[in-house]
């Protein structure tokens, strides 16, 4: 057994504390080049990561010893506070500092000149540090890097970028040891491969997972509504639960739903229980107030979103309520871990289905969570837009040797399979733009000099540094109460703001406000205590239900009866089985029926919301070509409902896999979702600059839309690297074509077309779904003409026109 240095051992002893077995294991395996710790929330994970550092630093030394990386700025600052105190109490000679976008310029300069022994930072701040010429000096003695919440980072491009940065750190500090700290995941080996320098192994330490959580569906008495989200019907039952617990976290899937729920909750909160709201669109000061109140134990409940998924202890939470189907079992399990943030106490969680279908989905999630059957969508190889950014960042620090850099980046787990040709394409793109038309030989961004690539114009480094990062928030505008020195309420998406006209009401920060004007990129509002807000559709991240969950739902449908389901839901499914059929895992159910004078077609693809949306775009295009005159569609996680003027009698031809794939390459390629996908990759790869807040489009006509670049490339350079990347990205994310492929593979040619005289029980809720998409096409110019004529008439300009011409 590895003995702890006396100051640390005494500190533990003075408190009567014993170190956990997994903390001991981390100490014993401290010399491992790569080490991954899997521990549930509240398991002393962070301390386990830092103990070996503290032990090593008990012997004084100067220079940077340990780099800690967290996905959240706030977490870096918290860890600094929480680590500084014990270190001072132990009397260890260790300086601990954090470095994020919020750190002052002087502080950051000083940190480069004289780094602390422990530096706490984020992936983006690390990338920025690596872009400086003095990076080799700063990191020369680095011994350990700790990646916290690595399970969350591994799901996004932030993690890919971080692993590329670690490959550079390893070159600068060959003795560097890597430690990953992860919550419970379905495939620890995958995270280990992600973390370790390829092809080296990575040991895994598994902490005791603790007692089984106590999860159930909330019994509300009344059945949930047929459609919609938000779970407002369950407010009385949820308030009862809040009353009988110390602190309750009430999770919602979207910010808009959290706002609506919170608004209604207050109308019914007759005991004036202290309840607050927390989500990523709220102003930072407002969020910090809520966090402080919670830590101080002043709140009984917090209505929140994924913004509270990560982070340190939020006080004494003893109940987690998940409103709306969790969409993903792994996220549910991690959320449940937020309750009883103390090791060895069972977590308690309640699921609240928001509508009738979600009752089935909640049951499926419950069964999966109890069986510890976690979902994970395997991620593809490391994306090349991130690699391109990485190349540019390193070029800012100094000349690059292509061979050495290729060898270095392929040690990063996500890029282990990167071919030399793929790497060369990225380098070529960074250097010349990589166009079929050689245009920039004189003005390359990177020039080959003395066998090494370097910036032609060193001033370019500033632009590259401004663009570091892979997080692309939708463009937002601030919302402020009207009046001098008035309060900032938060932010809404610019697209949402532009649909508002004066007098419209919406919800933000739990208040109903009235839109007054848009001034200098700020939405001015006044308080409006009316009870009829327009839904705030800002930043509504809509997660698609995971493949694992949809398969489990289909399995539940296949049961002969449903003793586990509430009676109202079981009877609904039985009625569907009698009138039509229930969807099955290896078949596609398509229903057609007339409704309100339109022909409807409902396809139960169970491919998740984004893929069902893509399917809607592709199918309506096919139907338009085939003369079925579709008018619009709506998509949910499990089906797409299309309405139009003509009846579809043979749906098999609509689902021809070759035709659908061709649609993705052809027609869909011109669609807005693909343009959005392109824009994100264009920003990450450095083709266009991200809009820096305050500097962006204040009426400058010099900037133009990335859509123009996309159209131009498609026309003149269809094989360009960025279009290749866009097609790869379309397999996931907004377009999610891989889920369409998964569905096609699952159903083969087994399509059950059921013709019905009226809407089926399963399709009926679809008619109530919001988010209907009108079919674009020839009809659009006609609509524009009507709208234009109406405006001219309203302004009295039509008569003037007649005189003039």
């Amino acid at each position: 057994m590895q003995p702890l240095p006396p100051p640390i051992a005494n500190w533990f002893a003075a408190r009567g504390w014993q170190i956990h077995p997994h903390q001991q294991a981390m100490l014993e395996q401290a010399r491992d080049p790569s080490l991954l710790l899997i521990a549930p929330t509240g398991g002393g994970k962070t301390l386990a990561g830092f103990l070996p550092t503290l032990a090593e630093l008990a012997t004084p030394r100067t220079g940077l010893h340990t780099l800690y990386i967290s996905p959240l700025k706030a977490l870096a600052a918290d860890i600094r506070r929480n680590l500084t105190r014990p270190v001072e109490e132990m009397g260890l000679p260790i300086r601990i500092e954090d470095r994020t976008g919020d750190t002052s310029y002087t502080q950051r300069r000083r940190q480069r000149a004289d780094p602390p022994q422990i530096l706490l930072t984020t992936p983006e701040s690390l990338a920025l540090l690596l872009s400086y010429e003095d990076a080799p000096r700063i990191f020369a003695g680095l011994s350990r890097v700790i990646v916290d919440e690595i399970h969350a980072l591994a799901e996004s491009k932030r993690g890919d970028q971080l692993m590329l940065c670690l490959s550079r750190l390893q070159t600068l500090a060959p003795g560097l040891r890597r430690v990953g700290l992860s919550a419970t995941v379905e495939d620890p080996e995958a995270i280990a491969r992600f973390l370790a320098p390829h092809p080296h192994p990575c040991a895994i330490v598994q902490a005791n997972p603790g007692p089984e959580p106590n999860i159930a569906m909330l019994d509300t008495g009344t059945p949930p509504p047929w459609a919609g989200g938000g779970g407002r019907y369950a407010i009385p039952a949820i308030l009862d639960q809040v009353r009988t617990h110390r602190t309750t976290l009430i999770f919602h899937n979207t910010r808009a739903q959290a706002e609506l729920f919170f608004h209604d909750l207050w109308l019914q909160n007759h005991d004036d229980l202290p309840i607050a709201i927390h989500h990523g669109s709220l102003a930072r000061e407002q969020r910090e107030r809520v966090e402080a109140a919670m830590v101080a134990g002043q709140l009984r409940a917090i209505v929140c979103t994924g913004s509270l998924d990560l982070g340190i202890d939020w006080g004494d939470v003893d109940l987690v309520v998940q409103v709306g189907a969790p969409k993903n079992v792994k996220r549910l399990v991690q959320r449940i871990g937020r309750a009883n943030h103390r090791y060895n106490a069972p977590s308690k969680a309640l699921l609240v289905p928001a509508n009738r279908f979600e009752v089935v989905e909640c049951l499926a999630a419950l069964q999966a969570a109890r069986a510890n059957d976690l979902d994970g969508e395997p991620r593809g190889p490391g994306p090349r837009d991130v690699l391109t950014q990485h190349i540019l960042i390193l070029a800012c620090a100094g000349p690059l040797d292509a061979d050495a850099l290729y060898a270095e980046v392929t040690t990063a787990g996500p890029y282990a399979a990167l071919t030399r040709a793929e790497f060369d394409d990225c380098l070529e793109f960074a250097a010349t733009g990589g166009y079929a038309l050689r245009a920039y030989d004189r003005w390359q961004r990177l020039m080959l000099r003395d066998g090494c690539w370097q910036l032609r114009d060193p001033r370019a480094a500033q632009v590259i540094r401004m663009n570091i990062g892979t997080i692309l928030d939708p463009e937002t505008v601030k919302v402020r109460l009207r009046g001098k020195g008035s309060a900032l309420l938060g932010e809404v998406e610019e697209g949402f703001a532009s649909t508002l006209t004066p007098g419209d009401t919406f919800l933000i920060a739990g208040q109903v406000v009235r839109y007054e004007a848009l001034r200098e990129m700020t939405v001015e509002v006044t308080r409006n205590p009316g009870r009829d807000p327009r839904v705030a559709v800002f930043n509504g991240t809509k997660f698609a239900t995971s493949t694992l969950l949809t398969h489990r739902i289909l399995d539940i449908f296949g049961q002969p009866d449903w003793p586990d389901l509430p009676d109202h839901t079981a009877r609904w499914l039985a009625l569907q089985r009698r009138i039509s059929r229930l969807p099955e895992r290896d078949r596609l159910l398509v229903e057609t029926f007339p409704h309100e004078g339109r022909h409807h077609l409902c396809a139960y693809g169970f491919a998740g919301r984004n893929a069902q949306q893509t399917l809607g775009l592709l199918l309506t295009k096919r139907m338009e070509d085939m003369g079925f005159a579709p008018l619009g569609f709506v998509a949910t996680d499990y089906a797409t409902l299309i309405w139009g003027l003509e009846e579809v009698t043979d749906s098999a031809t609509l689902f021809d896999p070759a035709d659908l794939r061709e649609g993705l390459e052809g027609w869909l390629a011109g669609n807005a979702v693909m343009k959005r996908t392109f824009r994100d990759s264009a920003v990450i790869s450095g083709l266009i600059e991200r809009n820096i807040a305050g500097r962006r489009k204040t009426g400058r006509q010099a900037t133009f839309s990335s859509d123009i670049l996309y159209d131009t490339l498609r026309k003149y350079d269809p094989d360009h690297l960025l279009l290749q990347i866009t097609r790869e990205e379309a397999l996931r994310g907004l377009v999610d074509f891989s889920r369409v492929e998964e569905m096609l593979a699952r159903i083969g040619s087994r399509i059950d077309h059921v013709t019905l005289p009226r809407v089926s029980p399963l399709a009926a809720p679809m008619l109530l779904e919001p988010g209907r998409v009108p079919v674009e096409g020839a009809a659009r110019e006609r609509l524009m003409a009507e709208a234009a004529a109406a405006l001219m008439q309203a302004a009295g300009l039509d008569e003037l026109e007649a005189e003039g011409a």
């Binding site: 532009s498 490339l713 405006l791």
Partner: protein, 221 residues
């Protein structure tokens, strides 16, 4: 012809969906703000390397307008080139292409703020052009009547049942017309900003470019 007809100081003009202005009586085609060589200039200044196809795309569209209308005179209303070096860097085939377009017609280059001095041989170079009742210049001058100009790259949006469509546009009133930018790599300035709202009369109209040239009251502050 996809366009919207209106009168300016007695001249009957057509704002085309392509972004060009057609004066039928004089067989005159006016285009503004081509910004040829923009990607080259950005690259030269150490910025980003945009797809180098905007010259080709802009001239392909101009060629289509010329082929459809066979103008006797083409007026480029300034900012034809993104700067003098961009003009000088145009490859030989682009210069040949421009000469080919000029064949059989007169061609006038009006000076713009990006290209104040003549950048190319061939054609006539003028600071502004007085033609009958109208004057053509790059930047609008307040107080002028019968003026055709460019420079501002106006754009406007139209709301359609929850959808918002934004397009480059012409702005016109009794005194002047301001053309949209014709170049492929050009952004726009909202008509409801202070510059354009200050220039145009309250009853000004906007003609949106696109497959159909829709006319709407000019959105303004």
């Amino acid at each position: 012809m996809n366009g919207h007809r209106f009168a300016l100081s007695g001249a009957v003009l057509t704002a085309l969906g392509t972004g060009a202005l057609w004066w039928g009586a004089r067989r005159m085609l006016v285009v503004s703000d081509l910004h040829l060589g923009k990607s080259e200039r950005l690259a030269r200044r150490g910025g980003t390397l945009l797809p180098p196809y905007e010259v080709r795309d802009t001239l392909t569209r101009l060629q289509a307008d010329i082929a459809a209308l066979d103008p006797a005179l083409v007026v480029c209303l300034g900012d034809t080139f993104d700067d003098a070096m961009a003009a000088a860097a145009l490859p030989a085939e682009v210069l040949d292409w421009l000469s080919y377009l000029r064949q059989g017609r007169d061609w006038i280059w009006i000076a713009g703020n990006h290209d104040p001095v003549p950048a190319l041989a061939g054609g006539i170079h003028l600071p502004e052009l007085h033609e009958g009742p109208v004057v053509l210049r790059h930047i609008a001058q307040a107080g002028t009547v019968g003026e055709i100009s460019g420079h501002w790259h106006p754009k406007a949006r139209l709301s359609l049942r929850g959808q918002r469509i934004s397009r480059p546009c012409f702005l016109y009133d009794a005194d002047r017309v301001i053309l949209p930018a014709y170049g492929t790599y050009t952004g726009g300035l909202w008509s409801d900003g202070p510059e354009l709202s200050g220039l145009m009369r309250r009853d000004a109209c906007a003609v949106l470019t696109g497959p159909v040239a829709h006319v709407i009251p000019m959105p303004r502050r």
